[in-house]
């Protein structure tokens, strides 16, 4: 059982040492730029020239490539097949027996895949290179309520325990003769002895955890210090501002292109 469900891949690169909000801005910009660039090939260029070098800088190119293989490729294959072969009307460029491959379909598929590629790689770039708690601290410093921070981080670490408990409950009930295979009705009836202990036990746990947090001053009013210190710099500040401006321009520009004939 893993300790937590985060995807953070530790490293010592320049990318890893960037302030979390800088990485958030980079990923956000890549995302928005990718979705607003006109044409079909803009996204691929963006990924190749912007996202991939950043990933390589962080030593994460391999992991990124792995994710592209596992997530984007199946999507690409299906969209190419569906749009390429079943595009209504359009100009056929290739004949495969009774079916024909349409140029517009292929064109659409290229654009679609490009967008998915951008979303996935930008998101992963952020998640792989940023500790969840560092990102949460950065956001808290900018005004995010500490309660939300707590909920996000605690969920990451507590989900595996939840899964382990669910397994223990299944074991305990099977040991009393509960059958887990069988018809749909049988399986439906088996749900109650599996779900109720999970819920009731969680309620008991939550009560204890709330008291424990209280005992450690969690709801104490007033400012809080932070053990983890985030390192920021002037140029990162400027970079983040620039990225925000560029992102806005990209969105505005794209909207303008849509409106202006």
């Amino acid at each position: 059982m893993p300790d937590q469900v985060s995807l953070y891949a530790p490293g010592n690169s320049g990318l890893h040492h960037l302030h979390p909000l800088t990485k958030l801005s980079l990923a956000g910009f890549a995302l928005l730029a990718g979705l607003t660039l006109p044409g079909r090939w803009g996204t691929y260029l963006l990924v190749a020239l912007f996202v991939l070098p950043l990933a390589a800088w962080g030593g994460l190119a391999g992991r990124l490539g792995n994710a592209v293989w596992r997530i984007v490729l199946p999507f690409a294959v299906s969209v190419f097949v569906i749009q390429g072969l079943f595009w209504t009307g359009g100009t056929p460029v290739l004949q495969l027996g009774p079916l024909s491959v349409k140029a517009e379909g292929i064109s659409f598929a290229i654009a679609s895949t490009g967008r998915i590629l951008t979303v996935v790689t930008a998101f992963l770039l952020l998640i792989l290179s940023t500790r969840p708690d560092a990102l949460m601290i950065a956001l808290t410093e900018r005004g995010l309520p500490p309660t939300i921070t707590y909920i996000v981080l605690a969920t990451i670490q507590i989900v595996p325990r939840f899964q382990a408990r669910a397994q223990t409950i299944m074991d305990a009930q099977q040991s009393r003769g509960l059958r887990l295979e069988g018809s749909l009705i049988q399986r439906g009836r088996a749900l109650i002895p599996l779900v109720v202990p999970l819920v009731l036990g969680s309620i008991v746990d939550v009560e204890q955890r709330a008291m424990a947090l209280e005992a450690r001053g969690f709801s104490r009013p007033g400012p809080k210090t932070s053990y983890l210190q985030l390192v920021d710099s002037q140029w990162q500040s400027i970079l983040r501002a620039a990225l925000i401006v560029l992102s806005v321009l990209a969105v505005v520009g794209r909207l303008a292109l849509l409106i202006i004939p």
Binding site: A172, Q174, S175, R176, G177, R179, E181, P197, V204
Partner: protein, 274 residues
């Protein structure tokens, strides 16, 4: 019903070996304590007995069944397993319904289910609370409900995981009564426990484990006399044995009565006989 493990090996992951070449034979009616610190493999071993875990190598036989060929639900007719945390299984609205769950799964008649529920609630001293919601009980009483739920299966083999955790004096008396009744009924009892004094007072054979292996297996007093193995397994001797050792008494007393008997044998009574 005989339990037979031969060369059992099990790993949770390629580098996490939990059981390593375990051989164990348990005859019907034996009363066994599985001893060892957390991580030694006690619970892993116990879960092999009712098929929750299947051995990677070797065989586990419960009577004439190999656990590889039967689901835990099927094996529940032969091996009852009472888990450590009652909140991992309680889901009914009354104690009565909770305890009836197991027998119902065995397909018994309503009359038989009822008889068993009444008998077992009487044994654990919760007959008066039969219609209470389990979560209205103290946590240690919930543990007794979970134990009762397992006992209601009336299996020839009963495995109990850490029954004494958090129990007070009354709870320990109930557990003693339960073990006495199981013994009287000729059932095989297997208890995993850190409470070495409780084990010494109610069980007869000890299986000492460390790092997935059985370090010692035999009469409890004999196993607990091997201090070097106990040190390896991070298990302490029962209070009376420690006292006897500190006093230089001969013998390996498991209980207060044993100790006094040993003491009496080696000392003249002071101040004249009564």
């Amino acid at each position: 019903m005989r339990i037979h493990l031969e060369s059992v090996g099990f790993a949770y992951a390629p580098d996490v070996v939990a059981l390593d070449g375990v051989d164990l034979t348990i005859e019907p009616g034996e009363r066994i304590a599985i001893l060892g610190e957390n991580g030694a493999g006690k619970t892993t071993l116990a879960k092999h007995l009712n098929g929750l875990l299947k051995p990677d190598s070797g065989v586990v036989e419960i009577g004439d069944w190999s656990t590889l060929e039967h689901s835990p639900a099927e094996l529940a007719a032969r091996v009852g397993y009472a888990f450590q945390n009652p909140d991992d299984q309680l889901f009914e609205r009354t104690v009565r319904a909770e305890v009836a769950f197991g027998p119902k799964n065995l397909g018994l008649s309503a009359g038989e289910v009822d008889r068993r529920v009444r008998a077992v609630l009487g044994l654990v001293g919760l007959a008066a609370r039969a219609d209470t919601h389990p979560y209205d009980l103290q946590p240690t009483d919930r543990k007794l409900v979970a134990l009762a739920a397992t006992l209601a299966l009336e299996t020839p083999i009963v495995v109990i995981d850490e029954p004494t955790t958090g129990q007070d004096a009354a709870g320990l008396r109930v557990l003693a009564a339960v073990l006495d009744r199981l013994e009287a009924d000729g059932r095989t009892i297997i208890v995993i426990s850190h409470d070495i004094d409780f084990c010494s007072e109610h069980l007869e054979r000890g299986v000492l484990m460390a790092d997935g292996q059985v370090l010692a297996d035999g009469p409890l007093a004999q196993v607990l006399s091997q201090t070097d193995l106990l040190a390896r397994a991070a298990v302490e001797q029962p209070q009376m044995m420690r006292l006897a050792a500190a006093l230089g008494l001969e013998g390996w007393p498991l209980t207060v009565e044993n100790f006094i008997a040993d003491y009496e044998r080696q000392h003249r009574p002071q101040g004249g006989r009564p």
